[in-house]
Subunit: 189 residues, 2 copies
Amino acid sequence: MTYQGMTTLNIALIHHPVVNKIGDVIGSAVTNLDIHDIARTARTYGISRYFISTPYEDQQQLVRELLAHWQTGHGSTYNPARKDALSMVQLTNSLDEVIDTLTKQYGKRPLVVATSALLRENSVSYQDLGQKITKGEPVLLLFGTAHGLAPEILQVTDVTLPPIKGGTNYNHLSVRSAASIIIDRLLGS
Amino acid sequence: MTYQGMTTLNIALIHHPVVNKIGDVIGSAVTNLDIHDIARTARTYGISRYFISTPYEDQQQLVRELLAHWQTGHGSTYNPARKDALSMVQLTNSLDEVIDTLTKQYGKRPLVVATSALLRENSVSYQDLGQKITKGEPVLLLFGTAHGLAPEILQVTDVTLPPIKGGTNYNHLSVRSAASIIIDRLLGS
């Protein structure tokens, strides 16, 4: 991995534990475009690392094959810009592993921030969190697949960003869209 | 179509004419997630209509089948929120047809706005365009697939939004991410 992020913001896309539409804790399948789209946005904004978190070996193998195609296979010469974006993607087993990795890297535990379609306690504004990143504070921002992060994930987060409101009562953004909007709100000019 | 948009912003995703990586004018294939993701974002922000523009009959048929699945088929009961978002999607042959439709609806030609990964003349700021929409001015915002809108499309647009900058020199956002970020910048609180 040669890419050096230009900010202290790291993101993780969690595939387990997340919840389904009735609130059961589940694991979700990896979606190709979640990896591509969010990596391209992350690369645009100088994010440090984009962790794909899944404990399932078959899903991990899919991610490895996708990354190999774009990093060393045909995709790497066909589309060097995509290789560049995907170079920041790191496969991981669990949120605990992500926090351990970043704690070693920065010499301190990062601020762990949840995103949610619901307003939760301990919320932090986009402006305040953006300023922390600008000042160089290590931050790990979590996105949930399926219908969002499970309670056990929320319990280990320090703060939560408020939900994205668009002036309607509809709150069913794709995780790809939500991640792009949130990253722009934090780091866009 | 029962959905009534809460704003005077309309968007169109153009599949022809667009350019490929070396600047040739081409037509692109419709991508399922372009329809889903951008419709969900558009619905979140109260956009009036989301036009899918392609002149190709086989591509139009794919779009019709997708919309039928979610509007009257199994998808409509499996995921009513998706039905809701996709109810604003309208299939169309060309940009001219979109402009005609909106001109009849509003009684005047909408302001036609291009998006681009390059800075162009006649640029309008996100803030100024957002204020025009808030004041009720009819606006049609265009997104290009492939490597962007063709010159003949740019020639009929009135103004262009500046490219999204993320503090790096990387400008390869997916159209799904770019549309989400731009709509949030125009209509987000």
